[in-house]
């Protein structure tokens, strides 16, 4: 497949860690990626084996010994389970799937990156990728650079969001969401079928995001609702205007809006409160640079951190 083709295709990156969360989010990915023009990449990131922690004996010595015994690398079973789920969900049904194994050497690790590509006749791809990286978030971001994705899906399980260690090691989901150049879905109890709650503040970026998410929602045939929050009573007409603008745009695209919500108060609190009635909250991310986001904490990141259900940060 050449680069042009890759750009036209809808590419989904699903990060697996063996938790229930990640397999739930895989179901959503399967729905998004059921079309022939979509590729699904399942990714497991294994931290690089290194010897500073192991008293000077490189972990690779132990790893090579395990391989001699015929023991699989951690992560392979999670990827295989993911592939079997995709088969059960009908994503990999039908025609012949060609299988291709690819290995890439990585500095400082005896085993490097390994992946299996499954390609069908129409060119649809499902990839199982076992990647090695210094840490999980870096691995996910490096994977994005290898082939651009439209969306990264990751579960907000304990492995991704180490609460106790958050000051030492910025949580994986947070780090990916800050740095990834594409939309990031942080899944928490992701239950498909309750629709997308799209939040808009009327800005140009936000309108673009509404349009993009509508495309996503139409892929998974999910109902769409719109929400806008006014900071105070005076602001309410503006919020109403935002909603009307977004609704008009969606109607022009042929997408029906199920419900519109206008609230007054703190945007973060209002959005989080309205969220659980929907499968996921969709929120746009303003054009701040990485560090500004980190220190000032935009509405999008506060919602992502504190929401009770899944959040899609759209870009």
């Amino acid at each position: 497949m050449n680069e042009q083709d890759a750009q036209d295709r809808f590419r989904i990156l699903v990060c697996l860690d063996g938790s229930d969360e990640c397999y739930q989010s895989l179901k959503y990915a399967a729905k998004l990626g059921s079309g022939v023009d979509a590729d699904i990449v399942l990714l497991y990131v294994r931290p690089t084996d290194q010897g500073l922690r192991s008293g000077g004996l490189q972990v690779r010595v132990a790893r090579e010994n395990m391989l001699k015994w015929g023991i699989e690398l951690p992560g392979i079973q999670y990827l295989k389970k993911g592939r079997d789920m995709l088969k059960d969900l009908g994503v990999m049904s039908g025609e012949e799937w060609k299988e291709e194994v690819v290995h890439t050497d990585v500095d400082g690790d005896p085993l490097g990156d390994n992946k299996i590509n499954y390609v069908n006749e129409q060119g649809k791809m499902v990839v199982l990728k076992l990647k090695v990286a210094t840490d999980i978030a870096t691995g996910i971001l490096e994977q994005w650079e290898l082939g651009e994705y439209d969306i990264i899906i990751l579960g907000a399980s304990s492995r991704w969001k180490g609460m106790a260690r958050s000051f030492w090691d910025p949580a994986v989901a947070e780090k990916v969401a800050v740095h990834a150049p594409c939309s990031v879905l942080v899944a928490r109890d992701l239950d498909i079928g309750h629709g997308h709650l799209i939040c808009t503040d009327g800005s140009d970026e936000s309108m673009e995001m509404v349009r993009r998410d509508a495309v996503l929602a139409s892929r998974c045939e999910c109902p769409v609702s719109l929400m806008s929050v006014a900071l105070d009573v005076e602001d309410e007409p503006k919020a109403k205007e935002n909603i009307a603008k977004a609704e008009k745009m969606l109607n022009e695209l042929g997408i029906e809006v199920e419900e519109t919500i206008i609230r007054t108060g703190n945007p973060v609190e209002e959005i989080i409160e309205a969220g659980p009635n929907y499968s996921l909250i969709v929120i746009s991310e303003s054009s701040k640079s990485g560090l500004q986001r980190f220190f000032m904490g935009s509405v999008a990141f506060k919602v992502m951190e504190n929401a009770h259900n899944s959040v899609l940060v759209a870009r």
Partner: protein, 481 residues
Amino acid sequence: MTIGTWLNLYFFWEKKWFFIAMFVGAFMLHLPTPGDLSREGMIILTMSIVAVILFITEPVPLPTVALLIVIGQVVLMGHDSSEVAKSLMTDSVLFIMGSLMLAVAVVKQKLDKRLAWLIVRMTGTKTWRVCLGITVVSGVLASFIGEHTVAAMMLPVGITLITLTSDDPRKVRNLAAVLLFSISYGASVAGIGTPSGGARNAIMIGYWKEFFYDPTNPETLKFLVSYMDWMIHAYPMFLVQVPFVTAILFWTFRPEYRDLSRAVVKLRALIEEEGSMKAADWMSILIFFLVLVGWIAISGDIGMGTIAVAGAAMFLVAGLVKWEDINSGVNWGVILLYAAAISLGVQMKETGAAQWVAEHFLTFLSPVGASEGFGLWAAVSVLTTGVTNMMSNGAAVAVLGPIVLKMSVVAQESPIIIRYITAVSSSFAYLTVVGTPACTIVYASGYLKTTDFLKVGWKMAIASTIIMLVAAKLYWPLLGI
């Protein structure tokens, strides 16, 4: 253009602890030096604190800290560069280097299958007996050749038993925990058994000689510890801990399968494919025993480091291991790190910084009655256990060693008891993945969660501390300390 676009500010955020450490260092250097501490002592104390912050938070690769220590000694303290370079290499460092090379050589010998065969033959198929067998064999081996060697050798045995019992990791979570922890804790509790059981023991022996031995005074000869002496003091403690390891693991995790006969039968078949012992196998066992005999019999004369290096040389001469394997299997940065930490420790003594910290720490401990006797022992043990859980235990001993040895002098306690307590407590790093090498290696299997270490680790730490304090009170006095 905003600042954010041309300055990669995220870099500063990710490396924040490096800058915090440097700021703390600069601030301390500008404080007035306390009257009873020399200027040099103040500098070395500052360097130690900065190094500890960097060891714990790891904003930069750890060997960088070693390089910074070397630079600091030359630039800040004005020492001669050649003198600093010389202070990096001691017998303890040679021992660490040699034993790591030996570790790679031993793991490459495929003796693990023979060991697995030995274990299942001895223990039968009951889960608790298999775990006890693994703990004993891992422990006895680790007490001589170090825990990382044993963890690397035994890990495949543990995982094979798990996968042969069930393919679904969820169904054997607790079984996986007891089997893998039997390896890592068995090896960890044994690391105290002999001087060659871990880098920390070698570092402590080095400090002891450096601090208390005076060639002109025959009285100080008692401070030179022999391999056998150490074993007599510490080995019984390891043996007492073994049943506790199995009991605590079973109490915490309750494995799903009480009997492993299916897995054991398959494992036997797997091992029998190997056939009988070959000449190379016998050769590697012979070299291994020569090294042990050398450590026990002549390490007092020619140094433990020399024997470890000789062992590695013998493996290479016999063609049992390739240099390339040794070169890629040893993390040479760790050796550099230990070398710099020891050199820092010696400077702590020479500048009087260790004495100063020891005095102030004791004044701080005296209101709670921990400035002498049993209270001091317990305080030293708790302090060492705390520090060693946060950073590698060799580094913990290298940093704390000088201070606690000086504390024993100031408090007029026996430095011998305090020394053993520090070295032994530094193996109580059961709480975190990074605490001991064996824990890090078994964690690489992917079967354990970091929370598992916390769940069982605190029980292990309490049990080990009690056993050690009882030994200090009842057993060591019998040996005439």
